[in-house]
């Protein structure tokens, strides 16, 4: 396929029981993909993300997940993720298994997966209780002097879903602003869905090859979904909807409120286009940044 709809992409590459990584560190989180997964009623997913954020709070509330692989479980700058806490503390709607790392540990797991390594070594976890509750965190002796260093195993998601500013129809994807672990997650995964604000001509990509983060070579599906990362943000396209991150703290405090929101904004809508329309022009107006251009560099024409 390659260029396709979100409905098609999720139907084809996300199955019950799959290990799924929707990454993006604060920026470029594909809420559009998460909502479509909820709509299609996927179950028993193993959800991987450094920072589960609101998107996994919503997917857990909707009953899509059986397990979370993560390193920071909070609503950034606000507080708790209430739906996930309900699942963990009280098994609502269902018990949720936790596999917990630190940020660097998650980065190392993606790196090992992407680099085809049996493990990744990192200076963390010494003296911490984390290895006690997570048997996947181990230690190895350096062959140079025998020092002990922590290791994490490779993470190979069945599918990684990454949002970015733009790609061509072949899936060659360019991202700027925070890079998070988008590249490592993409290369670690068996299948890759790229979601972008704009599909651009191949020549736009080829004009700046150093800006290409994910090559079409490893991309299975490209979905064009403007505002698809809201309420997170896309550098240069729209701001983070901090007001919504605050509102979610109230919405999600009880099951009724959470369900009400899911009914209205996910189940009640056919697709992201409807979400964007329902959200309304003034919201997008409020979130639109001014312009700040990068300037251009010369690669040179060599004949």
């Amino acid at each position: 396929m390659k260029l396709t709809s979100m409905r098609e992409a999720i139907a084809t590459y996300v199955h019950d029981g799959d290990t799924v990584a929707i990454e993006g560190f604060t920026a470029c989180i594909s809420f559009a993909a998460g909502h479509e997964i909820i709509r299609q009623g996927r179950r028993d997913l193993v959800l991987c993300r450094m920072t589960p954020d609101l998107i996994y709070d919503q997917m857990v509330a909707a009953g899509c997940a059986r397990k979370l692989v993560f390193s920071y479980l909070g609503n950034p700058g606000v507080g708790s993720l209430h739906a996930i806490r309900r699942a963990v503390e009280r098994g609502i709607p269902a018990p949720l298994e936790l596999e917990e790392y630190s940020h660097f540990g998650m980065v190392g797991r993606y790196l090992a997966g992407a680099w085809g390594l049996p493990f990744f070594p990192l200076r963390s976890y010494l003296g911490s209780d984390l290895p006690r509750v997570n048997p996947h965190i181990r230690f190895v002796k350096s062959p140079y002097g025998g020092e002990e260093i922590a290791t994490v195993p490779p993470l190979r998601p069945d599918v990684a879903i990454l949002h970015a500013q733009r790609a061509d129809v072949h899936g060659n994807t360019q991202l700027w602003g925070l890079l998070g672990v988008q590249k490592e997650a993409a290369f670690a995964a068996r299948h890759v869905i790229v979601v972008v604000e704009e599909i651009v001509d191949e020549e736009v990509i080829r004009a700046d090859p150093n800006r290409t983060l994910i090559p079409g070579l490893i991309v299975d599906a490209v979905v064009c979904e403007p505002y698809g990362a809201h309420p997170s943000y896309v550098q240069g396209y729209y701001d983070r909807d901090n007001a919504f991150y605050l509102r979610w703290d109230e919405i999600s405090r009880d099951e009724a409120g959470t369900w009400g929101w899911l009914e209205e904004w996910v189940y009640g809508l056919p697709d992201r286009k409807a979400y964007v329309e329902k959200m309304g022009a003034e919201v997008w107006e409020r979130l639109r940044p001014g312009e700040a251009w990068s300037g251009a560099v010369n690669y040179g024409a060599y004949r």
Binding site: S102, H103, F104, G127
Partner: protein
């Protein structure tokens, strides 16, 4: 001039950054403290955000460490792999400001659970980058309000190592960083001796009894006990007018 305990804590943290070149920073009070330090005692201070931003020059006070305002106009933006690999583990960061739901006398921090891990009373956010920051950064400043709920005899879970059981335990494990050096609270300042917290200064108007009552173990005291200089007019002006006009962090 009037000021709140939180303002005193922020000002004290800013002063502690005198002479520091690179600081690993999160949002909220630590971010305010670092920006106050840049405008006062540490003009050369470089802030590095966990989101991978270096040399940020935000046009607004960032609301999260991933705020897009941190990116536009920054000197450099790097991947999380580079941030933790090249900068943190690579030994490029001098100081980090950390906090937790619980801290013990050795500066070990818990940000994972209250109660039993398998059946937590409260599920906290977890490590984030704190565990490797605590191990790799040159020196750790712990910055959190003093309270009996937070300063405990025994942690429910050790997320990020401080001095573990005390003197020498970090180096025995080969940790690159020197670990916690100061604890900056809203009531007092503490240092460490032999890996254990020692009360060094009381903030103006705070009594030793108040402090001891808010700590879950018998505090070691330095003598003579000092008193913190109150915030200057200039420190408060920058804090209130430039850094936190909405007064979000004043309470």
């Amino acid at each position: 001039m009037e000021y709140t305990p939180t303002e005193m804590m922020i000002v004290a943290a800013a002063r502690a950054l005198a002479g520091v070149r690179t600081v690993f920073v999160g949002v909220g009070p630590p971010n305010i403290a670092c920006n106050l330090a840049r405008r006062t005692v540490a003009p050369q201070l470089e802030l590095i955000y966990e989101s991978g931003v270096f040399g940020a020059r935000p046009a607004r006070m960032p609301l999260s460490i991933g705020d897009p305002a941190l990116v536009s106009g920054a000197t450099m933006v790097c991947s999380q792999a580079d941030l933790f690999g090249l900068y943190l583990q690579g030994g490029r960061l001098e100081v980090a400001l950390l906090a937790g739901a619980q801290v013990d006398r050795f500066g070990n921090l818990n940000t994972t659970v209250i109660g039993d891990y398998a059946h937590p009373k409260v599920r906290l956010p977890g490590s984030g980058g704190a565990c490797e920051i605590a191990i790799n950064v040159g020196r750790v400043f712990i910055m959190m309000p003093l309270s009996r709920r937070s300063f405990v005899e025994r942690l429910d879970f050790l997320t990020s190592p401080g001095h573990l059981g005390g003197r020498g335990e970090r180096s025995a494990l080969g940790m690159p960083g020197r670990g916690p050096e100061r604890v900056i609270t809203d009531k007092c300042l503490l240092g460490f001796e032999g890996g254990e917290m020692v009360l060094e200064r009381l903030h103006p108007g705070v009594t030793l009894e108040e402090v001891q009552a808010a700590v879950g173990w018998k505090l070691r005291l330095s003598s003579p006990m000092g008193t913190t200089e109150p915030p200057t007019v200039e420190e408060l002006r920058i804090l209130r007018e430039e850094l936190d006009p909405q007064g979000v962090y004043r309470r």
